[in-house]
């Protein structure tokens, strides 16, 4: 089994879309805790301990929302204590906590998405719809590092021309602004000059003669079929169970969980498998490499 990010972009993209839809449908603290845990498991397998730095600022955000919601919202019947002349309720706190968790889950899963769906994959998926915009985006990715390099060269030479005279106070601000303006002017002139040559090179290679195709290096393999099959079945089951009222939670006026206990457990197990797939694939890969290393 190869690693998760080596799956076909179409599989990856639809996987993430399905997961995100489920998140929006399941406003349930337990589901969201699972979602966060699975995302962290995946990130840990990709980037190691650095993954936990997410917790450092994710936890305060969750707590913040959990605390702020009951301060602003006083619905609910279970009164905990009185702050000023307003009651703080358990329901409002629960709602805040769930919202915070679901936000954290979405952010973490976006982080996973970022790690996996690189620009070229996105472009491959949507390039067919708009080939010329796709090319434009590729060109832009080429320009950015190029312009940064040029900018640095221009700054260096301006620094050299100015020598070591130093100004202070508002004069410094004024001269810095002037320098920045000059840099941009030179950069524009220089780049425009280059763009003419680039246009020539595109024309020389037949750009604009026919409707272009978009080349890519991706192949739809057996593992992609396998993956889509499993994910598809699980997602359908989850949707059906959700339709039957599983994993719903009413907060106001009183916290109430919908669906039968058995169905809820089934849903959570499926949900866990679905979200755990990326992390598991990555973990297995990692282990395989480790055993190679030991043998080698």
């Amino acid at each position: 089994m190869s690693s998760f990010e080596e799956l076909h972009p179409a599989c990856l993209f639809s996987y993430f879309v399905a997961v995100m839809i489920l998140f929006f449908l399941c406003h349930h603290p337990l589901a969201m805790v699972l979602a966060c845990a699975c995302a962290l498991f995946f990130l840990y397998n990709i980037e190691g301990r650095r993954a936990f730095s997410w917790c450092k600022w994710m936890l305060p955000v969750v707590l913040f929302i959990a605390v702020v919601n009951p301060l602003l919202n006083h619905r609910g019947v279970t009164r905990l204590f009185k702050l000023g002349n307003q009651w703080i309720t358990l329901e409002a706190f629960g709602y805040g906590l769930t919202s915070g968790l679901s936000m954290a889950a979405i952010i973490l899963w976006f982080a996973c998405y970022q790690k996996v769906m690189t620009n070229d994959k996105f472009l491959y998926l949507f390039g067919k719809i708009a080939p010329s915009s796709a090319l434009l985006i590729t060109m832009a990715w080429n320009y950015i590092p190029d312009l940064t390099k040029k900018m640095k060269k221009i700054r260096d030479s301006q620094k050299m021309l100015k020598g070591t005279e130093e100004e202070r106070g508002w004069k410094q601000i004024l001269s810095r602004t002037k320098d920045a303006l000059q840099t941009v002017t030179v950069l524009l002139g220089w780049s425009l000059e280059n763009v003419v040559e680039q246009a020539d090179s595109m024309k020389a290679r037949g750009y604009g003669l026919r409707k272009r195709t978009t080349f890519h290096l991706f192949r739809f393999e057996q593992k992609d079929i396998f993956f889509s099959g499993i994910v598809g079945v699980i997602v359908i089951f989850c949707f059906v169970l959700r339709g039957m009222g599983c994993m719903t939670m009413e907060f106001y006026p009183q916290i109430q969980s919908g669906g039968s206990k058995k169905a809820n457990i089934l849903f959570l197990v499926l949900f866990l498998i679905l979200l755990g797939i990326p992390g598991l694939i990555q973990w297995k890969e990692e282990k395989a490499w480790n055993s190679y290393d030991l043998k080698g």
Binding site: N142, L161, W190, A204, R205, F215
Partner: protein, 552 residues
């Protein structure tokens, strides 16, 4: 069979008085390797552009161009776009996409080929070019030589019948240039692709070309085999020693230039052909020397050593300088020592990535050394001429540029323009100047700032032999005025001929330095072509003139 034929082709750019091409007639066969040479501005680029409909500039056109015996205009654009490949001068500006594999596929995407076909062609070309390891790299991370190789490869994937190359090596260092030309040669020999290449460094292409087309002011002056052209040029050099001929002549291989002189003086048999390669030059020289009265023992030639400037004082000194870019990175400079004396021209040589440009930045103070000291003499201003002089220009005309640097002093700006021989160009936009002119204008800006120490980064890049000579003259004038010049370069010939001292930067240190004759004598590989020819017999002869003088 005939592939391309020009019949009385003329071309005038809009608003230009002179014709860029004038009554040009020639033809080239299928699979032929044809080199176009001539002084810059003689119409080489225009000629190449004429041969590809997509690249034809706007202007007044006359005559006929035939491709496979059919007028070029009547060809389907779809065919001419993919069957005629074009590679331009600048490696950076031709790249369109962000990864190597995508750049290789770009032309085929335009041809709307199915993905499977593209995959096959791209992988085929990548392995022909030995680019497998670069396949997934970002184009921005490649070196200049790799970029130009990629540009060539991404034209070759389209399976062209004719390759047009417009000075493809002028922006590359000698090693990368040689690799690229070898690849072009291989494409010509192994794939049978016809090549039309314009170039001013003739040393290498002369050995590859089937024929050479010599141009002058948009006209055809000669179309001959390299051997015959060398003979003709050497001959006409004697007859009419005008600027045009000498501009081409300076670019000829060293062996040709040495033996032309020897022939003229009757030492080398006038019936024998001029040697073109270093190997043939060596053999011929040994023959000449043994013929010339077996006095090997007397062959103790000492090059005319350049005057020692060490009695004048040091204006710039680096003492045990260490530098690296990142905390855990590799040391670029490791305990480097260097001194620059007043009024001398010091040439620092070294391979790619040896840290030459980094050193210049440290000496100017743009970046700071990690350890060690840079001692600059008080009151002496340091200025650096970057590799791309464009970064120094910000106004619309050369005159405004000079005026600004002169502090609005009209007289000084005027003087400088005259000194740089740019007086007739001052109303032009700096970007419209040719490579040599742009460089002189940038140099002028630095001189007007009263710089007493000049650091030049690869000043001979993109200049032909004639312009190099001109630049050297200018720099000599400056050193005589007491300006100290430090130039970093790949150009061994330039350093040997004009520098007062040379140094080699290797592994972050200046490992050998000295007067050029002492520096180059004894090197077998890292030396000038003239010295490679004569090195066995006359170790201290490092320029063509010196070899000739030594033999006399």
């Amino acid at each position: 069979m005939e592939l391309l034929r020009f019949e009385g082709v003329g071309f005038t750019y809009p608003e230009a008085e002179q014709k860029a091409l004038d009554e040009l007639t020639f033809s080239m066969g299928e699979g032929e390797f044809l080199v176009v040479c001539g002084a810059s501005g003689c119409g080489k680029t225009t000629l190449l552009r004429m041969a590809k409909p997509q690249m034809q500039p706007a202007g007044k056109f006359a005559g006929n161009i035939y491709y496979k015996n059919k007028p070029l205009q009547e060809f389907d654009e779809q065919i001419s776009a993919f069957r005629i490949g074009y590679v331009q001068q600048n490696p950076d500006n031709q790249i369109v996409t962000d990864t190597v594999w995508h750049e290789l596929a770009f032309g085929l995407e335009n041809a709307a080929l199915p993905v499977q076909t593209i995959r096959r062609r791209v992988s085929e070309m990548a392995s022909f070019f030995g680019m497998e390891t670069l396949f997934h790299r970002k184009t921005g991370e490649l070196s200049g030589g790799q970029k130009q190789m990629l540009n060539l490869a991404s034209v070759m994937v389209m399976n062209p019948e004719l390759l047009l190359l417009d000075e493809p090596t002028s922006m590359l260092d000698p090693l990368a240039a040689s690799n690229l030309l070898q690849m072009v040669h291989k494409i010509n020999r192994e794939l049978g692709v016809a090549v039309l290449l314009c170039e001013h460094r003739l040393e290498e292409v002369f050995l590859m070309a089937d024929r050479v087309l010599l141009m002058e002011n948009g006209k055809k002056k000669a179309l001959k085999t390299p051997q015959k052209l060398a003979e003709m040029l050497s001959f006409s050099m004697e007859e009419e020693n005008d600027e045009h001929t000498s501009r081409i002549y300076e670019g000829l291989p060293a062996a040709v230039r040495i033996f032309k002189e020897l022939k003229k003086r009757g030492i080398y048999d006038s019936g024998k052909p001029l040697p073109l390669t270093i190997r043939d030059g060596r053999l011929a020289l040994t023959e000449v020397l043994t013929d010339r009265c077996n006095r090997q023992s007397d062959m103790k030639y000492n090059g005319t050593r350049k005057a020692d400037k060490k009695d004048s004082h040091i204006v710039l000194r680096a003492k045990e300088v260490w530098f690296r870019y990142e905390r855990s990175g590799v040391d670029i400079l490791r305990s480097l020592d260097l001194s620059l004396y007043k009024g001398e021209m010091f040439a620092l040589l070294g391979g790619n990535g040896a840290g030459k440009s980094t050193l210049l930045k440290i000496l100017t103070g743009i970046i700071k050394e990690r350890r060690g000291r840079v001692i600059r003499e008080k009151g002496e201003r340091i200025a650096m001429l970057p590799q791309s002089p464009q970064v120094l220009f910000q106004y619309d005309t050369v005159w405004e540029e000079l005026l600004e640097s002169a502090g609005q002093d009209v007289e000084r700006a005027k003087e400088m323009a005259e000194f740089l021989e740019l007086s007739d160009k001052i109303s032009m936009h700096p970007y419209d100047l040719s490579g040599g002119e742009m460089q002189r204008a940038a140099l002028g800006k630095l001189l007007l700032l009263d710089a007493k120490i000049l650091l030049l980064d690869e000043p001979t890049k993109g200049l032909d032999a004639y312009l190099k000579k001109k630049l050297a003259g200018l720099l000599k004038k400056l050193t005589r005025g007491g300006i100290a010049i430090l130039l970093v370069t790949h150009d061994l010939e330039f350093a040997a001929a004009y520098a007062d001292r040379c140094g080699l930067l290797f592994d972050g240190q200046v490992i050998s330095e000295g007067e050029p004759h002492a520096f180059f004598a004894g090197n077998r590989f890292y030396t000038t072509a003239a010295n490679q020819i004569a090195g066995n017999e006359i170790p201290e002869a490092i320029t063509c003139e010196e070899v000739v003088r030594a033999v006399l």
